[in-house]
Amino acid sequence: MKKYLAVLLAVVFVAAMAVTGCNPADQGSTPDASAPVQTPANTQGGAETPTEEPNLEPIKIGCIQDTSGGASIAGKPNEWGVQYAVKWINENGGVNGRMIELYTRDCQNDAEVGVTCYRELVDEIGVSAIIGPPLSNPASAWVDLATEDQIPIVGHFMDEQCTTDPETGEAYPYMFLAEPSCSVQSYILAQYAMEELGVKTVATLFNTSNAYAVAHEAPFVDYIKANGGTVLAEETFTWTDTDYTAQAQKIAALNPDAVLLCDYCNQMVTAYDNLRDAGYTGKILGANTMYPPFNTLVKNKVYDCYFVQNYDLKDTTKGTIAELVATQMADTNTDYPTSNVGFGWDAAMVLYNAMLQANDPADGEEVREILENNTADVLSAGGETITIDPATHRPTRDMGMYIATYDENNEIVCLVYRTTDYVK
């Protein structure tokens, strides 16, 4: 008897889970590719009337950012940038008269939460496209989902593995990157260091638990090795380490021409201080997270720092970035300018450009097609142009990065805008 009871209990549990109406017939069918398309917009729009009546239903777009997790310091301005861009688009007539409705979700820098956010946006809200976060872990979870559901995702997941298959090199059909990838950024930095700074020997100090850092470090090392430089040490740390003195002393003893730091701001600050404390006086090369507040957070004097920047935040003559940053700082009570505002703007603009060209901007497949083949010369926040390479779904190599440094007054100065053609 007891055994039957137990079986019953299990069955009831299953039933309870399914109580909201789990219909087995549903599940066999292929994923709801039609779901986003079957918004009221389509059913009302074309079919009934033979003459093309303008469809004024709003277009739903999702935005997934980390606004409360470990990368929220980048995620919040990113989200703000998307919101601001959508406001701008709507004030300027929307997508051929159709307004954009933005749904923002918080993925907490967690792949599991990211999948839930994705599913809700796609299945419940029925978004036509998603603007993604500058994070690789959640993004790599969507690679196949986006293809199954035909939802284009435009974002700043800079790791190349989020846009192309590392084994075949083919682009994932629905993933698009709107800034130079980690690899390209590292190549630009390494090239600048070798050609302009005369760097011959380097060391790296990075967080192996941080995808962002790993994705920067490997291409940097590749470039240096391939171009006749020497990598003296690749020192690592993890999230639970709070002090990198041992690694810093090892590097200081080797005394390379330059050291690459490529983590989030907190870790960069500690790494920089540890290196200088250990007596290292050479050049420090940084990823694009070395922008302020790095200069105000470090305890040592900031000198000989060279790092990549997506935009020249102070240049008021080019692009909208200066205005964006000023508005965001006033809006959200932020103390210093953040490039991430521009990331959100750029991703939204790349998507907007594709939607403008589409007959039906809510059709994921069509928008994807245009994103892949017809995304050319979209003006970025920094005043550069973004042209998506159909082969990689990343900006073509004529989109470059600024090399910036801090001057004697501890102010950020952009030195030069560079591109690279280096391919591994």
Binding site: S68, G70, S72, I73, K76, T208, E235, T236, F237, T238, W239, T240, D241, T242, D243, T245, A246, Q247, Q249, K250, A253, C265, N266, V269, T270, D273, R276, D277, A278, G279, P293, T296, L297, V298, K299, N300, T332, N333, T334, D335, Y336
Partner: protein, 293 residues
């Protein structure tokens, strides 16, 4: 080089020690690892920072530390009031304290990151240079300060616990709360005293860690694991044991990282802990008060 590494290890250990003492003092009486301590350290770092910024000219650092310590005490009472008081009244097993403390810690970190997480902050530097030399050995200024403060606080605490009546009562409650109650010790007051001490420690550590690193929500909680390890290895509840363990942990970590790399460190550390606890289950300092089982 080894001497330099040793010094660096002691410096790192002193940071862990600061946290481990906060753990140990609560553990000695309440028999649970107060994970909320990490969150409180973060909160105190923010409090100290905002306090400093609210003046037109930066007040001296000891004023900030004092203020932060006071706020730490208040915060400590608040946490006790919200999360532990009722558990104590119910005489709940200490696993519940443990869970409550983890939850409080997560909550504090989240509150900080949602409401104050737009910016990263740093205290203005208090020393001209970040390092100084004795002979050819390089010392980190702030780490040295932290080590001195940890030792000073330890000295004060040991005096408090060994020489004063309150200390005697704390020891009595630590050994057996029930019996000491019967002996006329107001155990409620003792617990309040312990939380006050933990609060002071959190306040001081918050500002010191803020001086060493920058201020961000997970500043304190990031170190909880290390503090936890040190306080347990040191001998549950023993203050000097916790400090000794923290410094040993720092030194071992620095040497392992230097010679084997940061990724192998957790693997070896795990093995060392396993062997150490198997060989000497009472911790470095010996059991402060024996459990029944």
């Amino acid at each position: 080089m080894s001497l330099q590494l040793l010094i660096s290890g002691i410096s790192l250990g002193s940071v862990y020690a600061l946290i481990a003492v906060g753990f140990a003092i609560v553990f000695s009486v309440l028999k649970f690892s107060n994970f909320a301590h990490g969150g409180m350290i973060s909160a105190c770092a923010y409090i100290g920072y905002y306090f400093q910024r609210s003046f037109p000219s930066t007040p001296p650092i000891y004023v900030t530390i004092l203020f932060s310590a006071l706020c730490g005490v208040a915060l400590s009472f608040l946490v006790d009031f919200i999360a532990y008081r009722r558990l104590r009244a119910k005489q709940a097993p200490n696993i519940y304290y443990f869970l409550a403390s983890i939850t409080v810690s997560i909550a504090i970190v989240q509150i900080l990151s949602v409401f104050y997480g737009n910016n990263l902050y740093a205290y203005p530097a208090i020393f001209e240079s970040t390092t100084f030399f004795i002979g050819s050995i390089r010392f980190s200024t702030i780490d040295t300060l932290i080590l001195l403060v940890s030792l000073a606080m330890l000295a004060v605490l040991i005096y408090l616990i060994d020489k004063t009546r309150v200390g005697l009562a704390i020891r009595a409650v630590a050994i057996n709360a029930q019996t000491s109650k019967l002996m006329g010790i107001n155990s409620g007051f003792i617990i309040v005293a312990v939380f006050a001490i933990a609060g002071v420690l959190a306040g001081v550590s918050g500002v010191l860690l803020g001086l060493k690193y920058s201020i961000y929500p997970t500043l304190g909680s990031q170190m909880m694991l290390k503090g936890f390890i040190a306080s347990v290895i040191g001998g549950l509840g023993s203050l000097s044991g916790a400090i000794a363990a923290a410094i040993i942990l720092g030194v071992v970590e620095i040497f392992l990282t230097y010679y084997l790399g940061s990724l192998s460190t957790p693997i070896i550390l795990f093995g060392v802990m396993l062997v150490f606890l198997a060989v000497r289950p009472e911790g470095i300092a010996g059991r402060f008060a024996k459990d029944k089982v």
